[in-house]
Symmetry: C2
Subunit: 204 residues, 2 copies
C-alpha cells in the first residue's frame, strides 16, 4: 500500500491530516503536479484515469482516488477514533457538512482559483475573470454562514470530524492561494479556525 500525493496541495493535505488524526502510517510517493506528472499517460493509465491526486494504491494493485474516498477506506479499517460519525444520525450529519463544505465553500474557492489565478490558465479553455469575482463574493458570504453556525457549535458536525478537516484545508487554500482570508471579526469562525489549525495533525 502507498499513497500517491503532492505535499502542500489542498486535497492531498486532507488525507495527511486524517492519517495523522488516526495515527496511521503508510508510504508516500510524491507526484509533482507542477511538472504535470499526474497527467502523464502512464500515470493516467495505471493509477488514476482522471489524473488527479491523491490516489491510494492497495496491495492487490487496485487504486482508490479522491481524498474523501481514501479516508472512507481507512475509516472502515480503522474506525477509532471515528471521524465520519458512528450512529446513523451522526454519519448523516457529518456527510451533510462534508457536502456543504465541498459544494458551497470548496467549489467557489476552486472557481476563484481556476478562473482567477495565473497558475491555472491551462486548466480551462479560457479563464473568465467575472466568474472568479462572482465566486469571491460567494466565499465571503459563506464565511458569514459558517460564523453563524459556529456561534452555537464547537465543531461543524458534532464532535471533531472529517468535515472540519476539509473545511480547514479549504480555508487555508482560500487564504493562502486565493487571497480570501476570513475576517477576525468573524469571531466564532476565527475561534474554530484557531482550534482546528492548532491540532498537531494540521501540520501533517
Amino acid at each position: 500500500m502507498k499513497l500517491y500525493t503532492y505535499a502542500g496541495a489542498p486535497n492531498p493535505r486532507r488525507v495527511h491530516i486524517y492519517l495523522a488524526e488516526k495515527g496511521i502510517e503508510i508510504p508516500f510517493q510524491q507526484v509533482d503536479i507542477m511538472k504535470r506528472e499526474n497527467r502523464e499517460p502512464e500515470f493516467m493509465k495505471r493509477v488514476n484515469s482522471m489524473g488527479g491526486l491523491p490516489v491510494l494504491e492497495l496491495d492487490d494493485g487496485s487504486h482508490i482516488a479522491e481524498s474523501v474516498a481514501i479516508c472512507r477506506y481507512f475509516e472502515v479499517e480503522h474506525p477509532d477514533p471515528p471521524l465520519f460519525g458512528t450512529t446513523a444520525s451522526e454519519q448523516g450529519t457529518v456527510e451533510m457538512w462534508i457536502r456543504r463544505i465541498e459544494l458551497n465553500f470548496m467549489m467557489p474557492v476552486g472557481m476563484v482559483w481556476v478562473h482567477g489565478s495565473p497558475l491555472t490558465k491551462a486548466v480551462v479553455k479560457r479563464q473568465i475573470p467575472e466568474m472568479a469575482e462572482q465566486n469571491r463574493a460567494v466565499v465571503r458570504s459563506y464565511f458569514d454562514f459558517l460564523d453563524r453556525h459556529l456561534a452555537n457549535h464547537e465543531y461543524l458536525a458534532g464532535e471533531f470530524s472529517f468535515a472540519d478537516i476539509i473545511a480547514l484545508c479549504t480555508a487555508d487554500f482560500a487564504a493562502k492561494l486565493n487571497d480570501l482570508p476570513h475576517s477576525s471579526e468573524q469571531a466564532h469562525l476565527s475561534r474554530w479556525y484557531q482550534s482546528v489549525s492548532g491540532r498537531p495533525s494540521a501540520s501533517a
Copy 2:
C-alpha cells in the same frame, strides 16, 4: 420521520430512487421550489439553513440535508442490499465514483443550468453565457470518459450502487433540462443508461 422533497427535481429524485431500491417507505412533504417555499425564513430557520432540498426530518426534530447524507443515514439503518459498498475497498470505490460524478459531471451540468437557463437567472448575481458554453464541452467530454469506463464495467463501481443512481439523475438532468443528451454512438454508456433507467426504482 418525513422527507421534505420536490417531485422531479434532480437531487430529491436521488433519494426517491434510493428508497425504492431499499424498499423503504416514509412520508413525504412537498416543498415547491418554483414558488421558492424552500427559501422562506421559517423553512430556513427550522429545517435547512442552506434552503436546499431534500431534507430528512428525524423523530427527535433534528434535520439532515443533502441527498447523499440522507441516503447514508438510511444505509446505516438498512444496510441490505448495500448501495455504498460493504468492504473497505468497495466503500472507497463507491465513494470515489460518487465524487467523480458530483465533481466532474453534476458540477458542470449545474454550471450549464445556472449560467445558461432562463429559469435560473435569480440564482447568480449575473449569468455568464460563456461559463455555460465551456461547461457544455466539459459534459460532452465526460460522456466519453464514462463510455470508456463502462466498456469494461457493468456499473460504475462494481455492483449497482448509489454512484449509478446519482449518475442516472445527472444524465436525465443534463438531457431533459439542459439539452445535453449523451449520444447513442456512446454504446457502452447507452447500454448502462438503458439498464439503470429500466430498473423499477427509476420511476420513483
